[in-house]
């Protein structure tokens, strides 16, 4: 926690930047003895809390970052907003406008030093608004560590196999609400799967609905499907082999974000992640959660 102390010049500095967030540079992080890692709240298999303990792939990666820097890990739990642009604003460069400290109104807002699970996509990083200005110019997206894609799992007692999506003109399928699978299944292919699409608060609830026999399949991110299958065990629920025709983005890379002026910190994380990807420890870490590890496209060609 960064709080203003009532000490001469420091107070003056606090007054200047009161109510704002300030990026911590690499040296600040090392000197403070901790690093704040931004992870999403309640989002298995990446990050979630259970019985007071933090779990997940991104939490473990946060620990690896803290260890590499020789500092303590502090988790910055993020509530997802409507888009990633909002999350970057709330958690990396500006802080959230509701982050107020009643007793200390001049306190800096809490932001993450490093935010995980940020897409690594040139088109997104350099996205421009209607006036031609960069949308996310105050953050740097770097260090791709994972490639994510969509996956379908189905109940073998309801369906023999899922080779094409045509099945879901006739069989119910569960998706997370307001996700791309929800958009896709209710509006693609002339909406022919629309009537069979059932919406749930998240992938876990959709999967639970499949276990209760209310839907025959679930579509979600592959890591989520892998983890749910891993947690469930047995052979009843299986990965499908279908493709997703007419879907714009089938797979995408995931990396980190740091504030624009703390690239040094980003480079330190990049060096660590690069080593972990090359020596196989990244894949081992994902395997602990039963999740298939796919290297980001940067590593596909050669390595």
């Amino acid at each position: 926690m960064k709080r203003c102390k009532a000490l001469g010049w420091l107070l003056a500095l606090c007054l200047l930047i009161g109510g704002q967030a300030q990026a911590r540079l690499y040296d600040d992080v090392i000197a403070s003895g901790y690093v704040r890692i931004g992870v999403y709240r309640d989002f298995p298999p990446y990050s979630w809390e259970q019985d007071g303990n933090a779990h997940g792939i991104d939490v473990a990666l946060g620990q690896a970052i803290a260890d590499a820097l020789g500092v303590e890990l502090r988790l910055h739990w993020m509530t997802p907003d409507e888009t990633l642009d909002d999350d970057l604003r709330n958690n990396v460069w500006k802080g959230h406008y509701l982050d107020k400290d009643e007793d200390n109104p001049l306190a800096l807002k809490n932001v993450a030093d490093v935010m995980l699970r940020v897409p690594y996509d040139r088109d997104f990083s350099y996205k421009r608004d209607a006036l031609g200005l960069l949308v996310n110019e105050l953050v740097v997206m770097m260090s791709p560590y994972h490639q994510e894609r969509w996956q379908l799992a189905f109940d073998t007692e309801k369906l023999d196999a899922v080779r094409t999506l045509a099945k879901f003109q006739y069989h119910p399928i569960g998706v997370e609400i307001d996700s791309l699978p929800a958009f896709y299944l209710t509006s693609a292919l002339q909406g022919r799967m629309r009537e069979q699409t059932h919406h749930y608060a998240n992938a876990r609830e959709a999967f639970a609905a499949m276990q209760q026999g209310r839907v025959s399949a679930v579509m979600a991110m592959r890591s989520e499907i892998d983890w749910l299958l891993h947690e469930t065990g047995g052979a009843r629920y299986r990965r499908a082999e279908n493709g997703f025709p007419a879907m714009g983005k089938q797979a995408w890379d995931i990396g980190i974000a740091v504030a624009e002026d703390s690239r040094d910190l980003g480079y330190a994380v990049e060096a660590l992640f690069d080593r972990m990807i090359r020596d196989g420890s990244m894949a081992q870490l994902f395997a602990r959660y039963g999740v298939t590890y796919e290297r980001p496209s940067l590593y596909m060609a050669g390595s």
């Binding site: 109510g19 907003d81 107020k100 109104p105 996700s179 958009f183 209710t186 509006s187 909406g191 608060a201």
Partner: protein, 592 residues
Amino acid sequence: MKRIGLSTGFAVTALVAAMSTASVAQAGVTDEDILNDQMTTDDVVSNGLGPRGQRFSPLTRVNTDTVKELRPVWSFSFGGEKQRGQESQPMVKDGVMYVTASYSRVFAIDVKTGEELWEYNARLPDGIMPCCDVINRGVALYDDLVIFGTLDAKLVALNKDTGKTVWKKTVADYQEGYSLTAAPMIVKGKVITGVSGGEFGVVGKVEAYDAKTGDLVWTRPTVEGHMGYVYKDGKPVENGISGGQPGQTWPGDLWKTGGAATWLGGYYDPDTDSILIGTGNPAPWNSHMRPGDNLFSSSRLAIDPDDGSIKWHFQSTPHDGWDYDGVNELIAFDYEDNGKTVKAAATADRNGFFYVLNRENGDFIRGFPFVDKITWAKGLDDNGRPIYDDSMRPGNPADAKKGETVVAAPSFLGGKNWMPMAYSQETGYFYVPSNEWEMNIWNEPVNYKKGAAYLGAGFTIRAINEDYIGVLRAIDPKNGKEVWRYTNYAPLWGGVLATAGGLVFTGNPEGYLMAFDAKSGEMLYKFNTGSGIVGSPITWEMDGEQYVSVVSGWGGAVPLWGGEVAKRVKHFNQGGSVWTFKLPASAEMASR
């Protein structure tokens, strides 16, 4: 009033009785007070100056002749670092003003001096995500209670003298995206509230709570297919599914999460004994996912205050694809037509059309554009249903890679947004705070949400005219004629007040409280309050003098969502205060 227990001894009873007599002027607010609010000029005990929300006062001391002499009496600061949009309407009862401020705060102020009597600060949890600034639109008064809704979707009743919590009820789960920002309303001893929550996944509802205890009385979902309940001895009893059954106007299971949030609250028409309330846009935003009318989204509902049954509905934008919420206020008023009194109700919709309905059955009487530019529809048919221009519906993101840009007018912030209009019983005109702006909408395949690829829609709002966006219009509901207009550089975002003194008051983001001649539209007075006005003015009488109050504090949805319009407003400074005005004694004398 204090309650006297049966077991209390005679002496105590007598003492309490004596105290009650002494404090008779401090009596709590009754249903009758609220029903008569429009005509009782010494207080303001309802949102909208009367249950119908006409925002018309019969006071005449401040009038077209004297208003130029209006002077500030005091200004009260909400203080703190919490200077966000102030969209509240103050209430005044027995010399005390009750007003809410950003971040779910309530203040009680001595109206004679402007001194604070008490302040209530809701303790908001971490992780709430209100969509559109941390605003609040005001309190309800009942008995000795001051009742308001918080950003974490709770109703809180405070003691009017101490500001201490008497009861607190959770209306909805903020973790599911719900919030409360509207002023609650009192109808027949019940607190009526809607819910806010633009996020995908919420289902709108209207609920009634016993005003004195906070016990839930009934709940009515505003999306077709959901069961309504009345509560008997704390137990829910089924009271019919909204719209009869699910799946009539929604595909698949989308009715389960259909949106239609009732985020602006409503008003009450005592004549027909109906709550008149509007509903927000359907979810999800992409209309191609949900063919059908998607009832009761973007609609006006008449609801029975006794059990929450829907008496009738009128849908202004069926199958909405532009985010044209239907929450704007539906104001009951009567007019003469060939010697017959028509029991009507009027609303100026986000979608740019002004509707006059029969408030006894919801029938469409007439409708007409109240903004200069409407592109999404070619007009209204005989039943008031829009005649769509299909080329103006935003594209299906599943079909398109980037998609074409659609230019639609009005913008999704609406020909008119939340800011309440006024109806003058003197002129018979509605005074409508409106905005001339349009939006570009395009598919945005390069977007992400929570670490996953996502099909978003990009949009930006633009002014239609170089020199103004805001237009205050005097509109004749009998023929759709615009009688006069005042144009404003920045968008208008504050409520309007009409008086029998021949005046129309409103504020602008530039900071001015303004008064216009109700007949000609001539600006007769303006005063800069130091920050933008996005609240609703009130007027009342005390010790033979007429007062006007308004909150000042720039914010709300425009600076958050305004697109190119944000350029026009970015230099406006934030604030947070109440200003109170009256005529100096000399001007008072001159007017007699």
